[in-house]
């Protein structure tokens, strides 16, 4: 079965790269452009993994993450947080709120792809 990946980021310039990379890996990809949209998509599509940007209009990635973890149906969704905030306090907060992993912009695409692979492999 193809793994479903949701990419939630408000910046089209990163969406295009992420979408390309995930498709190349052979995942089935959908995108969301703000927090609320991301939450809707997660509820609707039950993706295996979400690439979740922290700074989004409406709901932040932190809030989305928290709501997913609070929902019994969704709580097993894998979440990889993306952020431009590089402070260790932000990383700590993301992990505390339930992110499975955390990656800081700018990142190497190889590293990102590897992290996604590892997370999915650990799950199955």
């Amino acid at each position: 079965m193809k793994n479903k990946v949701l990419i939630a980021d408000d910046e089209p310039n990163i969406l295009i790269s992420l979408e390309y990379l995930m498709k190349r890996e052979g995942y089935s990809v959908s995108v969301a452009r703000d927090g609320a949209e991301a939450l809707d998509a997660i509820r609707r599509e039950h993706p295996t993994l979400v690439l979740l940007d922290v700074m989004m209009p409406g709901k932040t990635g932190f809030e989305v993450c928290q709501e997913v973890r609070a929902d019994d149906e969704l709580k097993d969704t894998l979440i990889l947080m993306l952020t431009a905030k590089g402070r260790d306090t932000d990383v700590a907060k993301g992990v505390a709120l339930g992110a499975d992993d955390y990656i800081t912009k700018p990142f190497s695409t190889k590293e990102l792809v590897q992290k996604v692979r590892d997370l999915l492999a650990a799950k199955t």
Binding site: E11, N13, I14, I16, S17, L18, Y20, L21, R24, M55, L82, A84, K85, G86, T104, K105, P106, F107, S108, T109, K110, L112
Partner: protein, 727 residues
Amino acid sequence: MSRAGRQLAVVGGAVAATALLVGLWIALVAVLAWVPLPSERRDALFELLGPGLPAAVVALLVILGLVAAAMPPIYRRWIAAPARLLEQARVLAAGDTPRELDAQEASADLRGLAQVVSELARQRAQLRGDIAAQVEEASRNVEQERSRLAALMSELTQSVVVCNLDGRVLLYNNRARVQFRSLSLTPALADGAELIGLGRSIYTVFDRQLVAHALENIRQRLERGVANPSTQFVTTTRAGLLLRVQMAPVSSTNAEAGGEPTLSGFVLMLDNITSDFEQESARDRLLHGLIEDSRSSLGNMQAAVEVLDDPELDVSMRERFQHVIHEEVHAMSGRIQTLAAQAAQQMKTRWPLEDMRGTDLVAAAQRRIEAAYGLRAEIGEVDEILWMKVDSFSLLQALAYLAGRLVEEYGIKIVWLRLRPADSRAHLDLVWSGQAISSEAMASWEIDPIRVGSEVGSLSVRDIVQRHGGEFWFERDRARQQAFFRFLLPLTSAQEELNAAAFARHAGRPEYYDFDLFQVTGLSRELDERRLSELSYTVFDTETTGLDPSAGDEIIQLGATRVVNGRLLKAEWFEQLVDPRRPIPEASIPIHGITPEMLIGKPTIDEVLPAFHAFAQDTVLVAHNAAFDMRFLQLKEQTSGVRFEQPVLDTLLLSALMHPNQESHQLEAIAERFGVAITGRHTALGDAMVTAEIFLKLLPLLAERGIHTLGQAREAAQETYYARIKY
């Protein structure tokens, strides 16, 4: 009885006693010889002695005469002289001044004794003198140390306030005064004097709990024996400022308690960090914005670039990724541009610069240059009101260095210093006549490490200029055949300039300290039971449009000063003209000298009274004919929203109490009686000062009458008041 009379009595007594003794002796002999004889022998004896009887009587008289003659010297030597000596010795014992005891007519033993007594008295006087001198010396030293400390404090550029454990201020310096002015809610009215003053409570400014907490910290550290038991806290003030407060203990070593230091007060050092804090926050925001935005852009670009490496990418996708890169590069450049523009405004030099008066800087430069190279340095055009923000040490080094190179390489003999404002900065010029220097020389002079004499420093002129966030260049003035180096330097900001000016205005050293307040203990006793000498007073006076407040007369000037611990604090005053919102009667103008023009734009009484109320809090009010002034204040309670509920003393009533037989108790008359010099009479502050001095003269007189406490004084004054009404 007179001395002669006493002598006569003694002589008479001696003669009579002698006569009596001789008579008794004869009678005894006669009886002893006569009684055993038979009667015929008695007759024979009688016949035998009978003819000698007149001779015997004469002999007796002669003896009595001799006794009478011998008595006066005996009296003087054995009776009068010892008595006199005793009196003198008593005087000597009771008094202070040593003197010789007069023992001329006394016996040799007594004279010796008198000498010994005199000698003892002399030794005692000498001892007393030594002790008095030592005490005087010691108190002079203490006074000197206090003055030295106060002088030192007043020169400090940091705000310092010293309080006793009750939180009463017992020392503050000039800087603190300026600082507290900025904490005042009504700085224009009370000048911050309602917040800081000797004997005032620090808790009007700082939260009592906060201070108590900090004190507790210090106590614990003291108990643990920490070497530096000071602590600090940051607090916001009512006026919205952010203050960093350092607190250090004042300990007094108590010998009885085994030398353990006990806490007797605390020192507060205040820093207004409001603007620092705002600047730093802005810088932080800028920095964080930059980091986040750049990370994001770089992330987008890196991802796109790495995808572009994929050989399987088709042409249309390739173009889309290239577009992403173009867009992000463009966005980043734009961001950096705006950032640079913003940062340039905020990027102040981090080097701590000091405020310095321009004229002082130029004078220091002149001395420095002349001392280092022996060339003449003259002061040209200097703007005297400029205040600079400089690191004067390094700047003076740079000036001296440049002058030195002019001497060594161009043989210049005389230079001028010039200082002028230029927009929001200043031009500081080092000018010389004649040859201009080459641009190569200029370049190297600017970047070579500076050296003064044989000392080579680590900084260049450029470094020093950068430290000031300034600029430096070389210009020639062909018309005057002059050349000059120009430093573009920062000025103090307007507010700081004001502070600095206020700082300079109090050049003298007024009464900013009162260490006796260390001894003041809890204020638990009722005011009425407290001693007059230990209370704080606000002595005030008003000038008014007329004498009848209920008929619409109004206050046009309010002046006040403070008396704390029996001392008039001339530096702590309140003076304010007041817009009466009504015309001033022409007839009253010659009395108070206040014209309608002077009151234009002044605050109204409803604005002034709250500030005065704050100034007078925790004190007893004193005024001359206080009932009059109080009536004006009371009629304004409704509109101003403040009530003056503290006790009031009236110098007029107190004076009437002390000198009931004097005709006049006008302020001038009392002042003359007490020898108080009258200056600035009929301004509210001038009269308040005179009243305060009179009040201080009245205090000891009241004490002589047994009036020691506030309650006693009020009661006594009340009685005279009724007495006056009756007459």
